[in-house]
């Protein structure tokens, strides 16, 4: 049984060395993770387990920080720190806020 993260030796294409600066939201997730880690709420080992546990699909379709975000959400729910309902409600609110300020990409446009 090979986890989706365990890719050493598998065939793949050329390494794209294009650099990209992290966007602010990626840095914010990184910072959030660092603070939550420093407080002992989530350990590095737990975080790895949750990222691996997102499934093959997550590795195919999500970016690195998207996987971290998804894993963090799941951990906050399982540790009873946040509820799914709270998270869903806040995402809806943020979507409305972004739509109002014209910052939502067209693929979300139908929601507004």
């Amino acid at each position: 049984m090979r986890g989706p993260h365990d890719v050493g030796g598998l065939p793949d294409g050329p390494v794209s060395t294009e650099l990209h600066d992290l966007s602010f939201w990626e840095k914010q997730i990184d910072g959030l993770r660092a603070v939550i880690g420093a407080k002992g709420i989530v350990t590095t080992h737990e975080n790895r387990r949750y990222v691996e546990g997102l499934g093959d699909d997550a590795y195919e379709t999500l970016t690195y920080y998207e996987r971290w975000t998804a894993a963090l959400a799941r951990q906050m729910i399982e540790k009873n720190i946040l509820t799914q309902a709270e998270i869903d409600a806040r995402v809806r609110e943020i979507r409305e806020r972004l739509a109002a300020s014209g910052e939502l990409a067209p693929e979300f446009g139908a929601q507004s």
Binding site: M1, R2, D6, G8, G9, T43, E46, R49
Partner: protein
């Protein structure tokens, strides 16, 4: 009470692998959080360093406590890992592996 029953892996006296020893990585595929990559399982390498006892990630990933495991740097020849390795015979890969994944041979 035998000596073995009071000595745990946390005790440095139980170190039983030294640099130069040949080891085979367990060819097992348990579920859970495993830090031994699939590509070295079942492969033979040589111990190159002993790092001392470290927390076992298979327990830590679930916030469980248990005995620490000795951590070793193990060196594999590329040609022992891949049948069709394209480079020179001397090329190597080093991995850091916990004692419970290593069988002394």
């Amino acid at each position: 009470m035998s000596v073995a029953s009071v000595v745990t892996r946390n005790d440095p006296w139980t170190i039983d692998l030294a640099p130069g020893d040949l080891v085979r990585v367990r060819d097992d595929y348990p579920p859970g959080h495993i830090r031994t990559p699939v590509y070295v399982r079942g492969k033979v390498g040589r111990v190159t360093r002993c790092f001392g006892p470290f927390g076992n990630p298979e327990l830590l990933a679930y916030r469980l406590t248990g005995p620490k495991e000795e951590l070793y740097e193990v060196r594999f020849l590329q040609r022992d890992l891949w049948d069709d390795y394209a480079g020179p015979d001397k090329d190597t890969v080093d991995l850091d592996l916990y004692r419970h994944w290593l069988e002394k041979i």
